[in-house]
Symmetry: C2
Subunit: 309 residues, 2 copies
Amino acid sequence: VALLFYSEYYDPEDWRRAFRRRDPAFDFRVWPDLGDRSEINSLLAWRPPAGAFGLLPNLKLIYSTGAGVDQLLSEPDRPQGIPIARITDLGQIEGMATYVLGAVLRHHLRFDAYAAQQKRSEWSILKHVRASERRVGVLGLGTLGLPAARAIAARGFDVAGWTRTRRSDVDLRHLAGPDELHELLERSDILVCLLPLTPQTRGILGADLFRRLPRGAALVSVGRGGHLVEPDLLEAIDAGQLSGATLDVFAQEPLPREHPFWRHPRVFVTPHVATLVNPDTAAPQILENLRRLSSGEKLHSIIDEERGY
Amino acid sequence: VALLFYSEYYDPEDWRRAFRRRDPAFDFRVWPDLGDRSEINSLLAWRPPAGAFGLLPNLKLIYSTGAGVDQLLSEPDRPQGIPIARITDLGQIEGMATYVLGAVLRHHLRFDAYAAQQKRSEWSILKHVRASERRVGVLGLGTLGLPAARAIAARGFDVAGWTRTRRSDVDLRHLAGPDELHELLERSDILVCLLPLTPQTRGILGADLFRRLPRGAALVSVGRGGHLVEPDLLEAIDAGQLSGATLDVFAQEPLPREHPFWRHPRVFVTPHVATLVNPDTAAPQILENLRRLSSGEKLHSIIDEERGY
């Protein structure tokens, strides 16, 4: 049996080394060098290359290289009935918490406003707000969302989180379900989105949601580009309803050169770099799942296709 | 007895309210309304107005509105032998830790480099570095420095701190004295300065120190403007030895309009806003010290003039 790897971002050699360190005989193949295609029982990719599924007659497990799986669920050629697993990697989790905290702090500390003043050689002191007075809302408290929310709370911010269904493991102020979303939004001076992308959450960051935030709120969008209605964000910022945004994910990536986000003074763009999976910590959990697959045991980290995450 | 207050930054009414809430009869006077000058036994100011000391024949205690006292020690008219106290305020400590962490994160996450790319509509992914791989050095582990260093360490960074004399309360990698400064510098990808300003530390952030940092290091200067040799910083950045700097304090404040820092793309200027003292938490400690003064008890938070902090 063999695993087929494909990525536009990662260096396959980092992954090969990580697998071989734990299993020197591990059969790791990198697209497009398939070898005997009938031996490939697993695929590790963010989004597989076009036509790949048709070449893999014995595929038994699909692995996302990230925490999200929406991009796999929406693949038109994906054969039905093959389980989809996702990586839960501590390095990725910590990286996301660090990025999100950095984004929250740049809004909290008004770094964008001070940078604008700097351009005008202007020395003016903006109103000082304590972290404890700054209300941060986090949409999504999953593998990445909950640790990010905790990192913000650890720095003294007034944090609340929201999930679609109520959960028992949330050690923060927790609002749940459509009825309590409004409550989360009206107390979010800074709103962080780390939801999974599902039919219910697609386009959730739009005009209606922005209207329900306090005037002057800031947005940190790090989940998926599909959450954000991009023209609505520009309209909300230009109307002063939002003070600015830090965006790491976009409807189309790379962000097209003519996109207005690039030139907007209150939109900060990073090129989908909030976090990365560490092959060294991810490889063992994949190997364990492949062992379970071959022995017929129950697999871990399998997503619920119905729910979408 | 009465306290005389003077500040260019704070609203005196915030302080008056904070004192009166705890002592409705407290005699709080705001420069230049001195009333009977002989009744004034204490002065609360960052830098007193010119000539103030000559008007206060019964001054017994001088209080800095901040953690630093160098600006008081260098006052030429200051009468000798009057103790100088400084405020140690939790709000101020937390505010500094939050600012410093925000500054460290903007360098760690390469927000400046991504902002430069954004200006060119450029989507390029820079090398991802984990927090645990990023070495941060903190110069000064005093009232403000140690909590700031702890906040950075809590986010997973590889932190070490340096003090002039060895201390017993440092729960981080601790280097001390001139002999170990080199060791701190050569492992500081990001260097934070929160030293007191003394004759020994004036100009410490200069060409010699910058040379000893790893190439491409970043500087966060939040202690005092007098620590930094400003032309040396520009030279080090322009030579690529430093990748950039976040500066909150300057030799001359407000920073003069023609100063090159305003226009340098790798220097981020904030107008001395890293943190503020909260009158509500500072007033009780000042009242307690004034009570001790009147009863002849030992005063707290008195600085050592010889040492300079």
